[in-house]
Amino acid sequence: MTDMTMPKTEGLAVSSQAYRKRIKKRYAAERRFRAYGIAAIAVAVAFLIGLLGTITAKGAPAFLQTNITLNIFFDPEKIDTENLNGVNFQAMARNALYDMFPEVTERREKRQLGQLISVAADQQLREMVRADPSLIGQRKDVQLLAGDDLDLVVKGTYDLSQPEAERPVSDVQVAWIDKLQAQGHLARGIAWPFLTTGDSREPEMAGIWGAVMGSLLTLSVTLAVSFPIGVLAAVYLQEFATKNRWNDLIEVNINNLAAVPSIVFGLLGLAVFLNFFGMPRSAPLVGGLVLALMTLPTIIIATRAALAAVPPSIREAALGVGASELQVVTHHVVPLAMPGILTGTIIGLAQALGETAPLLMIGMVAFIVDVPANFTDPATVLPVQIYLWADSPERAFEARTSAAIMVLIGFLILMNAIAVVLRRRFERRW
């Protein structure tokens, strides 16, 4: 068509040297570019594996604990059956241990030896006697909780090659532990206190059950508030709202709320729920309300998407046989969209479960030993418990923290798995 002729320069010919060089360069660039992409994904995956691997490696030992078997003499002279709370069972356990190491006589060393038993021993023995008073006067082998330092030495957490002054256990203590182990007095068992009790200052007695209960109570408030409100709001916006300024404002608002930093919701909770309405601090009720406000946009957006996926033919058919607008929605559209709605709700709740910052603002960060049983009891939640333990100086809390993270991630995986199953099994393609 045109008279334009290609200039016959050397470089453009397909067979020329320069062309081949250029194309080689271009292909190399192509391969490099591709490699960057692979590298980016690989870095992200490696980080994820590193993160989960480190936490599992650190946390797994915390699910086991070391018990120490001691031959306890329930001395009838020292046990006042009228006043069991006043009896020093700890001393009884310590004496049993001293009997095993008669060579230890010096006071300082005796104290170090006594540290090998957990202070929980006192409570353990008291409960035994309370359950079975016939023990009094007998001599019996009893498994007691070991102290956190002994536990960590047995698990190999401490680097014993370090100089003595730089580690929390002394050389004599390590020698005693080795001896106890050689004689078969130490046994591993599942760390029930970790799974069944509340927080404690002593690492070996600190448990996550209090935090798990706190999380459950908080999340049930969140669910009870955000699910009905979110679904009602989404149904209104998607099915009934006409396009006008007011409804646009609501929409923009919801989208903006989804991007507000979570800590700001905490400030809202502090200013409005605590200071203005005078609700109790540290309570799952308030935590649940704050998280509900945070989860609301997620639920509304997911519900609207699920409602929008229901084809208009369903609505028209229902209207055609005489259903009212509300009946169309409640009898047909919402039930059909339910899997999508539930999936969105579960994902929103999973986010709420992992949230820490807003709960710090409303005082759910206190040290709480008792397991909460009520919506107004002071409580803490799993992520906050992790934050608290991560701050504790004792080495044994490091493993507990990782183990608590494993429990938290376990719950998250469970919730997401339910969401995936719901989506796979019940979601319809139209």
Partner: protein, 460 residues
């Protein structure tokens, strides 16, 4: 009678209302009247249930708001010299009385007047609760009787119920607006109170942050400097580090997944990246503080650099990884929405795949990518737990990523966790910082939306 008992009684009454209404309606049918019921019996029941529940609920809520105000008002009259006290002292006295009435601990010695006031206060609350239970149930029964008489053959129960449900839905959708309003008002209100104590210019342009106000007059070592620039500088330093990790990694990951990866690899890589977004931030914070920071410090020792234990670098790097999925999933969507014809055109001109991506697809997708990066920045600015656990508290005005810096969010947390005094500049400063944070993130979101809308290319 406690509050929960009142609610339980109310729910039972509501259920009774529902069944009564339904059976009343079916009763009309059975009684042999000719003609058809306008609404199904279900709607008559639902109407009666609403009639029982809603007025009583409205009454209870109003009462619960008004009663504590009245209690405070009357109780203040029992405090001697209340009229001459300033608001703070009176507030302290009143909270003493409240604590005493609830069997708690008071500050200072208990005097006669406080005791009398506390007795009055607890008696008032008791009477109020009794009145509330009696009146709310009376309201429920009265409206039940009123609604019951309306049930008839031609009564349009369904229309009424649908109207009520629609109003409830509108109220539910307004919660979002109320939340925003609550956030804005509470932040602004507390910030104004803060600005009465600290001048605006000191807060906005001050170079020193040291929120140690004196707890009692003449205390040594107290210094109240509320200049937020060091905090902003720290926030932006960490954000910068995070974005320099997240943008390249996220973008390359998105490009690879949308342009190169086979469906199978995409099916694996995309969920894995999303897992990164699902991990709680407190976990990242723990990892940053306990694994990444010591690693960096050891590395620094090897290389002869001084990297502090709570460096901006550790927090920034980990935050960057956390943000990768935000960049990658949004960019992925944008790149996917670039029409295939553009790619085909570029290939037809002899471009390689990477040349097509760099010269055709990325420019076409740029507004969306910029939008996603801005959203990711707003995430990074508002992120709290990673920096609280890994970035430290020292308000250094520095650009050195190896030093410890602090951020806006860290300071909000430290100011508000633990014992706080009402009304002190320290507590109020947290709200002022919260307002700054809210404005920054809101601004970033608005700009992101604007960029996406304004510069989006329309292909068809």
């Amino acid at each position: 009678m406690s509050h929960s008992l009142i609610f339980a009684v109310l729910i039972v009454l509501t259920l009774i209302g529902y069944y009564f209404g339904r059976s009343q309606a079916t009763g009309i049918l059975r009684s042999g009247t000719t003609g058809k019921l306008h609404s199904l019996p279900f709607y008559h029941g639902a109407y009666l249930a609403f009639m029982v529940l809603l007025p009583a609920m409205g009454f209870i809520i109003t009462w619960l708001v008004i009663s504590p105000m009245l209690a405070d008002h009357f109780m203040a009259q029992y405090i001697p010299g209340a009229a001459t006290m300033d608001a703070a002292t009176l507030g302290l006295k009143m909270s003493d009385v409240r604590n005493m009435a609830n069997g708690g601990i008071t500050s200072g010695a208990v005097d006669e007047a406080t005791q009398i006031a506390a007795d009055f206060y607890s008696r008032f609350n008791q009477i109020s609760l009794w009145l509330l239970s009696v009146c709310s149930i009376a309201v429920a029964i009265a409206s039940f009787h009123f609604g019951r008489k309306l049930i008839a053959l031609r009564f349009r129960a369904r229309n009424h119920v649908e109207k009520i449900v629609r109003v409830i839905m509108i109220v539910a959708s307004m919660i979002a607006i109320l939340t925003t309003l609550g956030i804005v008002l509470s932040l602004i209100f507390e910030t104004l109170r803060f600005l009465q104590k600290v001048p605006l210019a000191d807060f906005l342009f001050g170079l020193k942050w040291s929120p140690q106000t004196a707890m009692r007059p003449g205390q040594i070592g107290s210094s109240g400097a509320f200049g937020m620039l060091p905090l902003l500088a720290g926030t932006f330093l960490i954000t910068l580090i995070a974005m320099s990790v997240a943008v390249p990694l996220g973008l390359y990951a998105a490009i690879y997944m949308s342009e190169y990866a086979t469906p199978r690899i995409r099916g694996i890589a995309k969920p894995v990246l999303e897992v990164l977004a699902g991990i709680p931030t407190v976990v990242y914070g723990f990892f940053a503080a306990l694994t990444v920071a010591p690693m960096l410090r050891d590395l620094g020792v090897e290389l002869g650099w001084v990297i502090s234990a709570e460096s901006a670098l550790a927090a920034g790097l980990v935050m960057g990884v956390m943000i990768i999925p935000f960049v990658s999933s949004l960019s992925d969507d944008v790149i996917n929405s670039v029409p295939q014809t553009l790619r085909d055109g570029a290939y037809a001109l002899g471009a390689t795949k990477s040349e097509t991506i760099k010269q055709v697809i990325l420019p076409a997708a740029l507004p969306g990518i910029v939008g996603s990066v801005l959203l990711a920045i707003s995430r990074a600015v508002g992120e709290t737990m990673i920096v609280v656990m890994a970035a430290g508290l020292a308000a250094n005005l520095t650009a050195n990523p190896f030093e410890a810096v602090t951020t806006v969010t860290v300071q909000i947390v430290t100011l508000l966790v633990g014992d706080q005094e009402f009304d002190s500049a320290k507590t109020l400063a947290a709200f002022a910082l919260g307002l700054v944070l809210f404005v920054i993130t809101l601004g970033l979101n608005v700009i992101a939306l604007y960029v996406v809308r304004r510069y989006r290319e329309q292909y068809d």
